[in-house]
Symmetry: C2
Subunit: 205 residues, 2 copies
DNA sequence: ATCTGCCGAACGAATGTTCGTTTTGTCGTG
DNA sequence: CACGACAAAACGAACATTCGTTCGGCAGAT
């Protein structure tokens, strides 16, 4: 039973600017005054909406997971081929992470340990999102020996680390996702039945 | 000309504990008192050795780059085959990053932007280290179309992100490095000359 | 009339940093 | 070998700010 909201409630703007500040400067890097000041609120007013600063982070985190999860799931469901599904998921992940959403960026930027009192909940939220990628990977036809867990961790690591070096204007998130997945696909796709289509190195097939 | 050092100089211990604190709680996550308190120093004494907290971080960072760089270079030079060189480099990188050195972990854990006044120097130090991997990758025989820059960023991303999920006792750094590199090697090694040794999928060759 | 949503002003604690003073190792000199 | 000058290294105590947080009160939407 959600309590009634007043139309002049500034919680949405509060969350928006919290997300922006958290992604720009991290959790410990910005003060309560930085966050509320951007929307001309006073520091004490935060505590009407949240019991403390960490709870605000949890709210932003949760919204971040919700948004990036929705984006990835939607992109995924537009494809049927397993490898194309993976590529679509990665592209959506990167787009949210690098360009679209402050909320999504916070999920990757802020370490759970930075907010000790909320760490457990943050980790749970991350895991919830990771499960999405586990699902995509489960449907991939792979060589028998491939460890899907290691594959997931490696791929997500490569994707998430882009946040540290990506600069808008160069390679687009879409293109990066394509490059990453292509690379893995070449390595992991089971060999085609003998005699068929074994072109793997030449310019044209 | 390094000025003369006294035998009771505690700068080494100061750096050691700073590295430990920075890696455990991040730059903004620990106070000057946390750092010096661990070696029974007083907060003001820090400022005999460094002009400010950020300069201390730079010193730790530099030492971290030096150590992990030395470890990787040594491991690299023990191999001659390009792919084995890469694997050795990755293994050394992961060992330093996950188990051995507080200093090395700080280089990955702490974001340059967390210390605005020192960010430029921190980035330069990171780049200096990255150049090592550029060198290893340059000697790799790859398919003609492969973008070595993207490859480096992807690999380093996967490696560095391990810091967020790795727990000692499971897969060893060595094993992880092996898995990562194997995966890429299968994808990127140029196809062997036609008719020779084209086993790529079966159990035994 | 009620109660949501925020103001305004404060709180104590913690922050990075400064500075005059004191201790202690090092070294040239007698 | 002893001693005294000198600088290195750290102390001790403060500094001004900034931090997250608390709380009584009040305007205005419902």
């Amino acid at each position: 039973m959600p309590r009634p909201l007043r139309s002049d409630n500034r919680l949405p703007q509060l969350l928006d600017h919290a997300a922006r500040q958290f992604r720009e400067k991290g959790f410990q890097g910005c003060s309560v005054r930085d966050i509320v000041g951007a929307i001309r609120m006073l520091p004490g007013s935060l505590y009407y909406h949240f019991p403390n600063k960490e709870a605000l982070l949890v709210a932003v985190y949760a919204e971040g997971v919700r948004r990036i999860g929705a984006a990835v799931e939607a992109a995924m469901n537009r494809q049927s081929d397993p490898w194309l599904r993976l590529e679509a998921a990665c592209a959506a992940h990167l787009e949210a992470l690098l360009e679209d959403s402050d909320y999504a960026q916070v999920v990757i930027r802020v370490r759970p340990e930075d907010a000790p009192g909320a760490a457990a909940r943050l980790v749970a939220l991350r895991d919830e999102y990771d499960a999405l990628f586990s699902r995509v990977l489960r449907t991939l036809p792979l060589r028998s020996r491939t460890d899907r867990r290691v594959l997931r961790l490696m791929l997500l690591g490569a994707l998430n680390w882009t946040q540290t070096w990506y600069r808008p204007g160069r390679a687009s998130p879409r293109r990066l996702a394509r490059q990453f997945v292509r690379l893995l696909a070449d390595a992991l796709r089971p060999a085609p039945p003998a005699g068929k289509n074994r072109c793997r190195s030449g310019r044209k097939c």
